[in-house]
């Protein structure tokens, strides 16, 4: 490898990058916009529109509805007067939850007799329906306990101790803030997007411009050409990372618990594999449009299979394996590890090794596929 030849490519690429204002502007604004949009992604199912049929309102039934609302999962929007109305609201998706309070609810509670409440959930979206059902059931248990304690107290008795008590602790994210989890994931996804986008054109644009033929007629080696094209992009991608970190901190108040220096160092392993993947795409494509289409094949699985949105463990095994070929899968773990848990290389080394191995494979393939010939 010749330093002179490599340097000449680096200089040319930097000059072209600096003049390509549109790409630069896109590269610096788009990640921020994406981070802000995705940052508000939320898998919580709060404030479900709820319709209540309470034919004989009483102090007790009002207390029940208030308790429902206090969970924040239910937002009572409708008071209905019959079952038909309730059905219509659920059918039209105006309401997702229907609560039916029996007419004798107040009476039964006051006299200490068991009362039944019906909670109907629109379970089209099974995941959120499951959460809502659990919350409703939990509320029922708690209300029963409260009533028991109160009636015992009225008779001057102490409640018996609970046979089993479960104490819970939310580690790493004690406030259960969704963004603490989502933002580092989005950071990884945005970096995957940026690196792919930046490398797509590297080779194929020279092909389209007609300069490819002249380039392959020079003594430049494929590795010199590719490294020369990628080094400036690595710089740009780091600039991007810094930008995103600032937004994550300034806008969302999410800062890394672990070492930022480590994040920067390990990100290089990610760049190695993701830039290599983009270069491979650019090398095998005949036109830029073709490269962009191929990139979709990388970006879509990146979002769905990497674990950045959905837990990988819930994917079928075949898809989990596909996910192993995607750099983002490992990078998301790295970013979350450093951001949320503050762990270091002693935990993250398998991910780093995987990223490096992946990088060697895709880079090797790109260099082998890059023929200094026309065909």
């Amino acid at each position: 490898m010749s330093g002179r030849r490599l340097w000449s490519v680096v200089r040319k690429e930097v000059a072209q990058l600096r003049r390509d204002r549109r790409t630069l502007a896109t590269m610096l604004t788009l990640p921020v916009v994406q981070l802000i949009l995705y940052g508000y992604l939320n898998n919580e199912v709060l404030h479900q529109p709820t319709a209540v049929w309470d034919p004989v309102p009483s102090a007790e039934s009002r207390a029940l509805v208030a308790a429902l609302e206090n969970t924040r999962y239910f937002a009572v929007r409708y008071r209905v007067r019959n079952l038909r109305e309730l059905e219509r609201l659920l059918d039209s998706a105006h309401a997702r939850v229907g609560v039916v309070v029996p007419p004798d609810y107040g009476q039964r509670v006051r006299s200490g007799r068991p009362a039944t409440i019906l909670v109907v959930v629109d379970a089209s979206d099974a995941t959120s329906a499951r959460v809502v059902l659990q919350v409703a059931q939990g509320l029922g248990v708690r209300l029963s306990q409260d009533l028991q304690v109160r009636s015992l107290a009225r008779r001057g008795q102490r409640p018996p101790p609970q046979p089993v008590e479960v104490r819970t602790r939310a580690w790493y994210n004690p406030d259960l803030r969704t963004q603490v989890f989502i933002v580092p994931g989005v950071l990884g996804a945005v970096m995957q997007f940026v690196t792919t986008f930046l490398t797509l054109g590297t080779i194929v644009r020279e092909r389209e411009l007609g300069t490819f033929e002249q380039l392959v007629a020079t003594p430049l080696r494929p590795v010199e050409l590719m490294l020369g094209k990628l080094l400036p992009l690595v710089g740009l991608a780091y600039l991007n990372l810094t930008f995103i970190l600032l937004v994550a901190w300034g806008w969302f108040g999410v800062a890394a618990k672990g070492s930022l220096l480590l994040l920067y160092v390990l990100t290089f392993a990610f760049f190695f594999s993701s830039l290599g993947l983009g270069t491979l795409i650019s090398t095998v494509s005949r036109t830029f449009v073709q490269a962009a289409q191929l990139a979709q094949l990388i970006l879509l699985p990146s979002i769905l299979l990497s674990g950045f949105l959905f837990p990988r463990e819930s994917l079928p095994p075949a898809l989990q394996y596909v996910g192993l070929a995607i750099p983002l899968t490992y990078y998301v773990t790295v970013v979350r590890g450093i951001f949320i848990k503050g762990v270091g290389l002693e935990v993250l080394w398998p991910q780093v090794l995987a990223l490096l191995a992946l990088g060697i494979v895709v880079f090797g393939a790109a260099i082998v596929r890059f023929q200094k010939k026309l065909d």
Binding site: R4, R5, V9, R19, V216, P219
Partner: protein
């Protein structure tokens, strides 16, 4: 190296699927000569040049550049040759100087030498005042100078120029050829492709390509004399178009064509010239002069192609 030939091709062939782009061509280019590859578009000129530059694999046959095999030693060849492709290979968003500097570096010139060569070319080509202009804004003539500069900064022993004068005005074209000859005098072997017959006169030797085959090769005079076995008669008249129409289908005329303001007739029999003049005068066409001439390169080319097609 003491290889007598700068370029040597033996039965060189390239197929693209069923299409034979270059069909068993054989030629030798001595060092320091300016060689012209002439032929219409699609004759196989560019394909031949690409194979010689080591960027396209031959399907059959072999070729050597400076004694190096185009298949085995392609990278060694690339270091020693200059190539100016039809599409020039310039980046429109870079300046003139940046394009030159890139190629100087790509050929591995040390920084000081690169600087010297870039400055030298800027001076030699008249691009010095435009050194900081982007190529996108550069007129075609200057682009061509720049592209040539990018190909010669590293002082290649052999220079391949693929249609370098296409789309360039006549004045720049002449200056361009002057420079090619100066490079040749400095010892560079030059292979130029063109489809303009009038440029053939600038070459030491020529090869006519047609349908992927070399149908004639030699010095310009040599080729014209070889074509003289059939008779060409030049007729001076002020009604050339009418003349052409009149002789069409005349049994003694094999072919006819315009040559400047005159009409060139290729005859089956040299003795028929006078009877044709008589025939033309009968038709009311004034004939101001008749002379047997050496066929022009174009005459020879057209004649060869027609002979080939009749034979096919």
């Amino acid at each position: 190296m003491s290889v007598p030939f700068a370029v040597r091709a033996v039965e060189l062939t390239r197929r693209f699927g069923d299409v034979v782009a270059v069909d068993h061509v054989t030629f030798e280019i001595p060092r320091g000569e300016v060689w012209g590859f002439l032929g219409p578009n699609g004759a196989g000129k560019s394909t031949t040049v690409r194979m010689l530059c080591g960027i396209l694999d031959p399907t059959e046959g072999r070729a050597e550049v400076l004694g190096l095999d185009v298949r085995r030693d392609r990278e060694a060849i690339k270091q020693r040759i200059g190539y100016m492709s039809q599409r020039f290979g310039l980046w429109p968003d870079l300046t003139v100087r940046e394009n030159l500097e890139f190629y100087a570096g790509a050929y591995g010139l040390p920084a000081a030498e690169a600087r010297r060569q870039v400055e030298a070319w800027l001076g030699r080509s008249g691009l010095a005042e435009r050194a900081h202009e982007r190529v996108a804004a550069l007129p075609a003539g200057f682009r061509q100078w720049l592209a040539l500069g990018c190909a010669v900064l590293h002082r290649p022993a052999v220079l391949f120029l693929d249609e370098p004068t296409a789309g360039v005005d006549p004045l720049s074209r002449r200056r361009f050829w002057e420079l090619i000859h100066r490079l040749a005098e400095e010892g560079t072997t030059v292979l130029v492709t063109t489809h303009a017959m009038d440029e053939a006169a600038h070459c030491d030797r020529l090869a006519f390509l047609y349908g992927g085959r070399i149908i004639a090769q030699g010095g310009p005079e040599e080729i014209r004399r070889a074509g003289a076995d059939h008779t060409v008669v030049e007729i001076q008249t002020d009604r050339p178009a009418e003349t052409l129409r009149a002789v069409e289908g005349h049994p003694a005329v094999r072919d006819a064509g315009l040559h400047g303001a005159a009409v060139h007739l290729i005859l089956h029999d040299p003795g028929a010239a006078e009877s044709i003049v008589g025939f033309l005068r009968q038709q009311g066409i004034p004939v101001h002069g008749v002379a047997a001439v050496l066929p022009s390169l174009e005459d020879v080319f057209v004649h060869l192609v027609e002979a080939l097609e009749e034979g096919a």
